[in-house]
């Protein structure tokens, strides 16, 4: 691990200002992803700003009946929250499908959204990777790509976003709240939060330098049957090959988001009108234009079958 200096942040704006003014500075909260990457020298911050003391660890009701989730709320606490379990079951289920008990006790809401891909070539510092070393090339294209994206990718990068939580957040229309170095607040719909890789796959979100996530808000509950189904290579503690998060109403309408297929949680609102007609027309529309590799072409079929299973469960 490279050496770094360390400070404990005392105010959000001061932390954002310090991060914006210090080249090589990074925020640290749970640290479960950042420290893993620092040990491999994939992340090489020269200064760490510990934001754990900033108090963004509460879950509160919003004026419109929704939920404001502090950026520092641990995955365990979010999954355990009474309103999440009752009104946002999709989110609770997605959180519990991710990582291990130990990791969920540390991992934060903001950190979960900001976690980086588990593409094996991103992790292998001996291989070219445009995300890790911009301009060096993509080893995953033509390489082992079972886990990787089937759409939304580019000739520079076919990495996936690994989060389960973010899939639920996308289906629930979450909004990411931030503060910047000048104290200006911003609200970013989760649909706009992650960038397409294009030719700059190292830029993963629309956050500006120093901009600090303070909370994630959910609109008021939408009801319906909420199901999260994750398909993976082992029964627990593995990243998704494909995951489906769905909210299905009694009249057959609903929402669907997919994990494990793209650089961000994948949702195509226009495809949801097909839900009463079953899984195939929905997935055909959601994955239209998919360019899977030889290794991951199964994900298109798997997504359709997983959604079919989810719809059967929701309508049972």
């Amino acid at each position: 691990m490279r050496a770094f200096s360390y400070e404990r942040a005392t105010s959000p704006v001061a932390a954002a200002a310090k991060a914006a003014a210090t080249p090589g500075a990074r925020f640290i909260a749970g640290g479960t992803n950042l420290l893993d990457l620092m040990k491999l020298e994939i992340e090489t911050p020269t200064h760490l700003i510990d934001v754990n003391g900033l108090g963004f660890d509460r879950i509160e009701k919003t004026d419109d009946g929704g939920l404001r989730i502090g950026a520092l709320v641990r995955n365990t606490d979010l999954a355990a929250h009474e309103r999440v379990r009752r009104d946002y079951g999709l989110l609770g289920r997605a959180l519990l499908a991710g990582a291990s008990g130990q990791l969920r006790n540390k991992a934060t809401t903001a950190g979960n959204l900001l976690q980086r891909t588990r593409c094996p070539y991103f992790y292998d510092t001996q291989q070219p990777c445009n995300k890790r070393a911009p301009g060096s090339g993509c080893s995953a294209i033509g390489g082992v790509s079972r886990q990787l994206a089937v759409l939304g990718s580019s000739p520079s990068c076919i990495a996936t976003h690994p989060s389960d939580m973010a899939v639920a957040m996308r289906a629930l229309d979450a909004v990411v709240e931030t503060v910047d170095a000048k104290g200006a607040a911003r609200a970013i719909p989760i649909a706009d939060f992650h960038r397409a890789p294009g030719d700059t796959p190292h830029l993963e979100t629309v956050l500006n330098p120093g901009e600090l996530v303070t909370a994630v808000t959910l609109p008021k509950p939408v009801g319906g049957k909420q199901v999260y189904r994750k398909v993976r290579d082992r029964a627990s503690y593995a990243f998704a090959l494909v995951s489906v998060g769905a909210i299905v109403q009694e009249d057959g309408s609903g929402r669907v988001a997919l994990g494990g297929v793209a650089h961000k949680p994948w949702r195509i609102e226009a495809a949801e009108t097909e839900l009463p007609r079953g899984a195939k027309p929905v997935i055909d529309r959601m994955l239209a234009g998919a360019e899977p590799t030889h290794d991951n072409a199964f994900k298109v079929t798997l997504a359709e079958r997983t959604l079919a299973g989810v719809l059967a469960e929701a309508r049972a």
């Binding site: 090589g24 760490l48 519990l96 990582a99 990791l103």
Partner: protein, 204 residues
């Protein structure tokens, strides 16, 4: 490295390094100088004050600075759970957190759960059911299992829970899912499961 020449040398003695810096390779080029930072936390009921290279993980602080070598370094990347300790009542991977991030924390390691002459019930159950072969993952398994049963008692749900609104029962499926962050490469899982079942009161 300082190696004790006394008889009865323990691994804890051998592991003390002088100066205690956690083995980072120094690559040429742009690199911040190593930075020291003071931190105080409580370990197994005793206050400890340390000045550490900021890079020191909680695991390395425990093992290499406080000579508590019970928690093990397996993968050092949060994948195996051998480093599991209990911090402020919660199990975490001590390899994936910095010691300096734990000012004022209360840390419990396997050494603090029980003593050889006064085993924690989970330790006694692992002995009774032979919940190990090589033993390397055992301290992490036991710390994890103790905190996991507390999570279950307080009503936290898991991926295996049928309902998110009813209290989760202590079933085999629940226990297995909740222990998935602890890998045993010897494959002693069935005996580990038996040990945890006994302490959890499953099937009794």
């Amino acid at each position: 490295m300082k190696i004790s020449k006394e008889e009865g040398v323990s691994r804890g003695d051998i592991l003390v390094t002088d100066p205690p810096i956690g083995g980072a390779t120094v690559a040429p080029g742009a690199q911040a100088p190593p930075a020291a930072f003071r931190v105080s936390f409580e370990v197994n009921g005793e206050r400890r004050d340390l000045t550490l290279d900021t890079r020191t993980t909680l695991l390395d602080a425990l093992r290499e600075h406080l000579r508590l070598t019970g928690a093990k370094k397996g993968c050092d990347h949060g994948q195996c759970g051998a480093c599991t300790v209990i911090v402020d009542g919660r199990r975490i991977n001590s390899c994936l957190t910095l010691a300096v991030m734990h000012e004022g924390a209360k840390v419990t390691t396997i050494e603090g759960l029980g003593r050889p002459d006064r085993l924690h019930p989970m330790q006694a159950a692992f002995v009774k059911f032979d919940g190990y072969q090589c033993g390397y993952c055992t301290p992490g398994q036991i710390c994890s299992a103790v905190a996991m049963l507390d999570e279950l008692k307080t009503g936290l749900h898991s991926h295996a829970s049928e309902s998110l609104t009813e209290r989760p029962p202590a079933t085999d499926a629940e226990l297995r899912e909740r222990m998935s962050g602890n890998i045993c490469r010897c494959g002693a899982y069935s005996n580990i499961q038996e040990a945890i079942r006994e302490v959890a009161g499953v099937g009794t």
